[in-house]
């Protein structure tokens, strides 16, 4: 009898082990199947709202494919890839080291966000490095804001979709807020900076050492290609200028840069496109779909005009929401078509990129609750002010 019970117990344990080790994965699959089933069961697929949303999503995708992919996104990715490979980042970083002069460190941090961190996964290590071993909390905070907000591809897409003035405004406010947020953090947490002494590790070898003129020419030629498509000039002239610029670019790259780096440039560009495009297309579809079903009066009531409340709502929701890189552009575009004011739209651009719940969690871990909360509040408030200014400027 005792043996029998023993055997039974062992079997029970075996079964438990098998069940619990494999079930997590299985439950996930079950959950997704269940979600799909429930969605198809209950969603009013055949209702006019659903078909309109579907059509709206597809229409916006077509708009982007026709207007923005070849003439804006593709060149932008090449530029971002070029920044990752040919720009000498060590010399920029020197300006953010522990010995850096403060009045240089802040503007450098605000501008260099877009140059040092093309890919979002490099932002946090860089921030932590500047914070703990470099110029300190102020420039680190400035960089933390400018890293995602002063993003070359995002600015270029904004310009293509919402107009040059909007892109310029976005760039200006992003840099200004970066510097101001940095100064606020420095004033409030002065004590932090005394600990820095170690500095960045040197011994980083093999940075591409190209003449500054060649690198600048490289970017100007690409900007020419980018800008010329947005100009309202004759079709033939357009292609002629773009063609000449492209040809000069190829010659420049082959003569001035090493073939190893050129290969890295292409690889980097492809890598960025691969990472960003799928999410962007999902975001465009979602924006198009939402644009059809979201009631217009609801949008106007919450974020229409340029009131303090509208800007505050835009700022806080932008801080909480997570936008995959570039997806903020189609979403804000649609919201503006539904009546979102220009001020709140700017606010949403500013906090939408810089803050999200996942990034806040990392901030809490790296800086501690007090500093993280201060940074988040500062950014939210400064973005509201920027939105109010921008909205009143263009009303």
């Amino acid at each position: 009898m005792a043996e029998y019970i023993q055997a039974l117990r062992l079997r029970w344990q075996d079964w438990q082990l098998a069940f619990f080790s494999e079930t997590v994965e299985e439950w996930k699959k079950f959950f997704w199947l269940m979600a799909a089933f429930l969605a198809f069961y209950f969603l009013p697929i055949t209702s006019t709202d659903a078909t309109r949303a579907l059509a709206g999503g597809l229409a916006l995708l077509q708009e982007y494919a026709r207007k923005h992919v070849l003439t804006c996104l593709v060149p932008a990715f090449f530029i971002a890839g070029g920044i990752a490979v040919y720009v000498k980042k060590d010399s920029i970083l020197q300006l953010l080291g522990p010995m850096a002069k403060k009045y240089i460190a802040y503007p450098v941090a605000a501008i260099s966000g877009g140059l040092l961190a093309v890919c979002s996964c490099t932002i946090l290590p860089l921030f932590a490095g500047i914070y703990k071993r470099g110029a300190g909390i102020g420039p680190a905070a400035a960089f933390l804001f400018s890293g995602p907000a002063v993003n070359v591809t995002a600015i270029i897409l904004t310009s293509s979709v919402l107009g040059f003035d909007f892109a310029l405004g976005r760039l200006f406010f992003a840099m200004t807020i970066a510097i101001l947020a940095g100064i606020v953090m420095m004033l409030l947490f002065r004590d932090h900076d005394r600990k820095n002494g170690a500095g960045f590790a040197s011994g980083a070898n093999g940075e591409a050492e190209y003449s500054t003129a060649a690198v600048i020419a490289f970017f100007i030629l690409q900007l020419v290609i980018l800008v010329v498509f947005g100009l309202g000039i004759a079709q033939g002239l357009k292609y002629a200028i773009a063609g000449i610029a492209l040809l000069s670019l190829v010659v420049l790259v082959l003569h001035k840069f090493s073939s190893e780096d050129n290969r890295r440039w292409i690889a980097e560009t492809w890598d960025l496109s691969k990472k960003i495009m799928p999410y962007l297309f999902i975001g465009i579809f979602a924006a198009g779909a939402i644009g059809e079903v979201l009631p217009e009066d609801w949008v106007t009531a919450t974020v229409g005009g340029n009131s303090l409340a509208a800007n505050a709502i835009a700022s806080v929701s932008g801080a909480l929401m997570y936008f995959a890189t570039l997806t903020e552009v189609p979403i804000i575009q649609k919201l503006m078509q539904l009546g979102m004011g220009r001020g709140p739209a700017m606010t949403l651009f500013l906090t939408g990129n810089a803050l999200s719940i996942p990034s806040m969690m990392v901030l809490f871990k790296l800086m501690g609750a007090k500093q993280a909360m201060t940074y988040i509040l500062t950014v939210v408030v400064l973005s509201i002010i920027a939105g109010l200014l921008w909205g009143s400027l263009t009303l």
């Binding site: 290590p125 932590a128 500095g199 940075e207 890598d271």
Partner: protein, 83 residues
């Protein structure tokens, strides 16, 4: 020999790890690989730009995906220094 790769896990650090493994293999070096993904540990090592590469605890490169040939030279330098 101990080879560390620093990076939060994007494509660059993965490529660097692959290349480092190939370099070690081609040289016939017995190496122990470690992937460092914790940001604090990266800062400790002085990394600011990912990906970073360290051999036997010494940082040899950061902010760059080195070629297999480059990594081989670095590995060779280290093994001659050790002798």
């Amino acid at each position: 020999m101990k080879i560390q790769i620093f990076g939060p896990g994007c494509v660059n650090c993965k490529t660097l790890e692959q290349r480092a493994r190939r370099a070690a293999e081609e040289l016939g070096v017995k190496a122990e690989f470690e992937k460092v993904t914790e940001i604090d540990a990266m800062i400790e090592a002085g990394i600011v730009r990912t990906p970073g590469l360290a051999i036997d605890g010494k940082l040899v490169s950061q902010g760059r995906v080195n070629t297999v040939a480059e990594i081989k030279t670095m590995l060779q330098q280290f093994s001659t220094d050790a002798r």
